[in-house]
């Protein structure tokens, strides 16, 4: 059965980030059965974890979403009202312009539900951001008539669209994202294809995000991409560019799923056992900065959802953004970080090795 409300609105104990962190730092870490993430980094002389250089400026412009997916690390949903103001967006634009970041990665919730979303994208385009990513959940395009022209808007601004589609069939997709989501996602993908997205030589990039619909790691990204391309092309005539395989991080509603399904211990064990030292050099927190809806700065979107603010010495708000300090900070880590270092590694851009 799919969840219809966020943890926050259900007053779940897991709505508390302190509670989530307490669960993550479970007995198996305390009694030494598993090494902590910090211990793993110390072992390979990578502690404290340091940034390389900020290339991706990721902005979460609000937790409101038309969907309530079972695995959502944001705890997003229609009832979430946290939303970025135009003033904060302007502060982001000023910082992007000042430091000439290569990529602006806009996420949510459903970022398109922020009333200033289109303004933000247009302004970012004006200041010459080379790559603008919008993390579009697909169904938003059909959620209301006012969103139906999003494919044209994306095309006009040469947006790289990155969309979640956890599987190439309705059964697995709907179990994770809600009844009817697959069918709407397919229609939305066809609308994106119709304006050129995912088509060869169009220059309009449409990437799909796969994340496991259960307590397991993603399969090989390239093999999954072949499966997705074959299945979506043969059944629905859909084309896309790349599949990004992302590991589920054990926080928020995915953490709730793990606990409710009695998979938490096994999944954490899997993440710890699958720790791959080679992934550390490419973890996304080294080249990404995450900005929350209220302008607070974080090392990644997951730390944002756990209220793990960026290193105090680096300046914790967009209004005091200083790249030199940001590039010299110590990255804040916890046990959820094992999600980004398991197997082939994981980031918002897919696998990392």
């Amino acid at each position: 059965m799919s969840i219809i409300k966020s943890l926050r609105s259900r007053n779940s104990t897991l709505a508390s980030t302190e509670k989530q962190l307490e669960i993550l730092n479970c007995d198996s870490f305390k009694n030494g059965k598993w090494q902590t993430f910090r211990e793993k980094l110390i072992q390979q002389n990578e502690f404290p974890l340091k940034p390389t250089n900020i290339e991706i400026f990721q902005v979460n412009i609000g937790y409101m979403c038309n969907q309530t997916c079972k695995h959502c690390h944001v705890d997003a949903g229609p009832d979430r009202k946290e939303i970025m103001t135009q003033e904060t967006m302007q502060q982001c634009l000023d910082v992007i312009a000042k430091y000439n970041f290569h990529t602006l990665d806009i996420t949510g919730g459903a970022p398109e539900m922020n009333p200033n979303f289109r303004w933000f994208v247009s302004e970012a385009k004006k200041i010459g951001v080379k790559e603008i990513i919008v993390r579009c959940n697909l169904t938003i395009i059909l959620a209301n008539q006012k969103y139906n022209d999003l494919p044209e808007f994306f095309k006009e601004h040469q947006i790289r669209v990155v969309s979640s589609l956890p599987f190439y069939n309705a059964d697995r997709t709907d179990r994770q994202r809600g009844t009817g989501v697959f069918e709407k996602s397919i229609k939305a993908l066809q609308m994106l294809n119709a304006v050129g997205y995912g088509k060869e030589n169009s220059g309009l990039i449409l990437d799909l995000v796969y994340n496991p619909n259960g307590a397991f790691l993603p399969a090989d990204q390239k093999l999954l991409e072949i499966d997705f391309k074959n299945e979506l092309r043969s059944h629905f005539g859909i084309e896309f560019n790349n599949l990004l395989a992302i590991t589920n991080i054990p926080i928020s509603r995915y953490l709730e799923y793990l606990i409710d399904s009695d998979n938490f211990e096994e999944y954490m064990d899997l993440l710890v056992r699958s720790y791959n030292p080679a992934t550390v050099k490419n973890v996304m927190c080294r080249n990404t900065i995450s900005v929350g809806w209220n302008g607070n700065l974080y090392d990644c979107d997951f730390n944002q959802m756990l209220d793990l603010n960026i290193d105090r010495n680096a300046g914790q708000h967009i209004s005091v953004f200083d790249l030199e300090k940001i590039n010299n900070r110590n990255i804040v880590i916890n046990q959820h970080c094992f999600g980004c270092t398991a197997g082939s590694g994981s980031s918002c851009q897919g696998t990392t090795i």
């Binding site: 599987f167 059964d171 697995r172 259960g214 397991f216 399969a219 090989d220 093999l223 499966d227």
Partner: protein
């Protein structure tokens, strides 16, 4: 001693068989690792074969391991169940084909 013959936790201890005899265990695990690498068959195809065999020999450890492994390799539920049906068909067929032996004998004995 355990009160049951099978304990899921023992699956993770498979490697411990080397404790009593390391030489043969090392040879076995080397061989095992080689078998499941990509070759003329892909690692995914081999995992599905292993899942089918696991059901044919009804090994709970193997069913656990290769359910996880096939999912982790991107197989879908239909592929996994078809693999189990292959095991079922071969097992059922193996019994039924002996029906010919029964018929041969019966026909010889009866007018």
């Amino acid at each position: 001693m355990e009160k049951t013959y099978y304990n899921p936790e023992d699956l993770k201890k498979f490697g411990n068989i080397a404790e009593f005899e390391s030489n043969l265990a090392a040879k076995f695990f080397d061989y095992y690792g080689e078998v499941f690498k990509d070759g003329a068959l892909s690692a995914r195809e081999k995992s599905l074969i292993a899942l089918a065999v696991a059901h044919a020999i009804q090994c709970p450890y193997c069913i656990d391991a290769y359910t996880q492994d096939t999912i982790a390799k991107g197989c879908n539920e239909a592929q996994m169940m078809e693999a189990v049906h292959v095991a079922g068909a071969i097992r059922g067929g193996a019994s039924l084909v002996h029906g010919v032996q029964m018929m041969n004998k019966a026909k010889k004995l009866m007018m």
